[in-house]
């Protein structure tokens, strides 16, 4: 319990990572795979931001009374990563739409049945 409390963000990271990867691997529906991918990427955001918070630190503002502040750099990095994630998701969904037009389905096993070389 103490582990859970003190490293909640790390535990959450691991759980999300595993859930995300599982969904990607185990689900044959293409949209669901993309959802899993998104969950997986979210776990990475947590991985960076969680440790960035310094206990007892404030927001990064330069002012005489503030001595410690949380690290702003992970937030910057993760903003970039979120954008990349959004772009990936958008592109992925666009491709899925086109696949649906071409094959009439978005289940991976049905597509492989139709086109064994795909």
């Amino acid at each position: 319990m103490a582990v859970l409390a003190s490293s909640f963000s790390n535990v959450a990271t691991v759980i999300l990572m595993v859930i995300g990867l599982y969904v990607v691997i185990a689900r044959g529906n293409m949209v669901k795979t993309l959802v899993g991918l998104g969950v997986f990427q979210t776990s990475v955001y947590l991985l960076y931001i969680g440790p960035g918070k310094i206990l007892g630190g404030s927001a990064p503002i330069i002012a005489p009374e503030i001595a410690t502040y949380s690290n702003p750099l992970p937030h910057v990095l993760i903003l970039t990563a979120i954008v990349v994630g959004v772009a990936t998701l958008a592109l992925g969904l666009a491709i899925v739409v086109r696949i649906n037009e071409a094959y009439g389905t978005i289940e991976e096993d049905e597509i492989i049945a139709r086109d064994p070389d795909a």
Binding site: F40, T80, V84, L91, G92, I95, I99, D117, A118
Partner: protein, 493 residues
């Protein structure tokens, strides 16, 4: 003034051009813009390389922010040459592109093709140049996302599925890479590669660093299609438009291999990965598996592009084998094969693209008897094929020589024999293509098939000529590879 800002220019030019391209209406105008920019970059890369050769390394502070807080572009012997290679291939492919794109891509999408191509170029150039770990991720994703689009533009509907699979696997790879970088950042507080190299040995918690290394290696391995994480490559290269395949086969995986080299040798230093983590054993095993499995699979494929794609997986195995030796000879062999394979595969995919241009088919059955109608094209394929087998006088031989020498230096006889044995697989699958083209009766006498147009043949044959020239005059390539190897192994500053 330009000379001072070369690194930034090299990345900014194609990035801006991509945006401009997307706003154009006429495909040929887009092509022209892409061509001009693609041809403008090699001279810049060459100038940068000359600077590097003169000064040892070039360090460019983006926005004039001092590293390690600011992002640094750092070019040294290891990546200066790769920059030149990527930009040269980019330029050569663009010359070839107009006719091929007109033939293979729907009219309303051509402008987007050129825009995505320029973005892909930006991503790869940026990946090669940057000296900041997270910046690597950013450029990697810029390159990858545009690659997914390029592949999805292929004619066959299987290209869509291939692009989707590449997207999923590629994103997992990139995310693993970010996780690894995250561990490095958490333990050292810096993202600058050179700074990481200094700080990592001082970190007390070795386990976190090893986990970081593991994630980075796995993530990069997914991107460079190291067996068994290669599943996405054959279909992606096989069904993409011809020039996309040619460009990607020659550059994409090479840049990621460079990143692997950079992280394993420069950032982590040779000791940790090689002695503490048993990376060589793993790499040797996977490389051999790649060479064996991929070559054998290539032999049975009917689609020539898919066959060549599996061949690429095998050849990547050779490069990682060179890395696994960790010796100067081994690394020289691996790095020189990076360049040589880029030339060989680039030439092959361009020539096969020419065949597709004229006939619309790329199956072994489909090219039966074509050598009579397209003699120059198939002569090029035969010569490039000889290079793949590793006949002396071609670049393929040079790489094999160094790899075998590196194996023998270690006393690993069995490995030397396996390396040369792998050439025999190449003999079989290239032999299938050559036999079908030269000795089989054409299926249906198609009188209308003529030789490929010059715009396609000239760049392709330039690469073929390179295969032979650099096989006979290896001074440049071997010296650069050796310089890169020595820099990575910290044998010279």
């Amino acid at each position: 003034m330009i000379l001072r800002h070369l690194p930034a220019l090299i990345v900014v030019l194609p990035l801006l051009a991509a945006t401009l391209c997307a706003m154009l209406r006429r495909p040929h105008a887009a092509w022209l813009l892409a061509l001009v920019v693609s041809l403008a970059i090699p001279p810049l890369a060459l100038a940068l390389l000359l600077q590097v050769l003169a000064e040892g390394h070039v360090s460019y502070w983006l926005g004039n922010w001092q590293p390690p807080w600011g992002i640094e572009y750092r070019v040294d012997a290891a990546n200066g040459f790769l920059l030149l290679l990527v930009s040269l291939v980019g330029g050569a492919v663009m010359i070839y592109a107009r006719d091929s794109v007109d033939r293979e891509i729907a009219e309303d999408r051509r402008v987007w093709f050129y825009a995505m191509y320029l973005l892909c170029l930006t991503g790869q150039l940026g990946m090669t140049m940057t000296g900041d770990a997270f910046n690597v991720f950013v450029f990697m994703e810029i390159g990858s996302l545009s690659t997914y689009v390029l592949i999805a533009m292929g004619r066959d509907r299987r290209a869509l599925v291939a692009a989707y699979q590449y997207l999923v696997l590629g994103t997992i790879g990139a995310t693993f890479f970010v996780i690894g970088v995250g561990f490095l950042y958490l333990t050292t507080g810096t993202l600058n590669l050179a700074d990481l190299a200094e700080r990592l040995p001082q970190v007390a918690d070795r386990r976190a660093i090893m986990v970081g290394l593991a994630f980075i290696v796995v993530g990069l391995s997914l991107k460079l299609a190291l067996f068994p994480l290669h599943q996405w490559l054959p279909n992606a290269y096989g069904y993409a438009p011809s020039i996309a395949t040619a460009f990607l086969a020659a550059t994409a995986t090479k840049v990621v291999i460079y990143l692997l080299l950079r992280f394993v040798f420069t950032v982590f230093g040779r000791t940790l990965p090689f002695e503490e983590l048993a990376l060589p054993t793993l790499l040797v095993a996977l490389s051999l598996a790649a060479i064996g499995y991929a070559s054998v699979t290539a032999i049975h494929k009917d689609n020539v592009k898919v066959m060549l794609a599996y061949s690429s997986v095998a050849q990547i195995g050779y490069i990682t084998l060179g890395i696994a030796f960790g010796s100067e000879t081994g690394l020289t062999g691996g790095i020189v094969h990076l360049f040589n394979h880029g030339m060989m595969k680039g030439a092959l995919f361009l020539l096969v693209g020419a065949v597709a241009y004229r006939t619309g088919t790329v199956t072994v059955a489909g090219i039966a008897g074509l050598a009579r109608r397209m003699p120059v094209t198939f002569a090029g394929i035969a010569v490039a094929g000889l290079s793949m087998i590793g006949v002396p006088g071609t670049v393929g031989f040079v790489s094999k020589w160094y790899l075998v020498m590196a194996a023998l230096e270690r006393g690993w006889w069995w490995l030397a024999v396996l390396v040369v044995g792998g050439s025999l697989f190449a003999l079989v699958y290239m032999g299938r293509i050559v036999e079908a083209a030269y000795f089989r009766r054409a299926a249906a006498p198609a009188e209308s098939i003529a030789e490929a147009p010059l715009s396609l043949l000239v760049p392709a044959w330039a690469l073929v000529a390179g295969c032979v020239y650099f096989g006979l005059d290896t001074e440049l390539t071997v010296e650069v590879a050796r310089g890169a190897a020595r820099t990575l192994l910290r044998l010279s500053p």
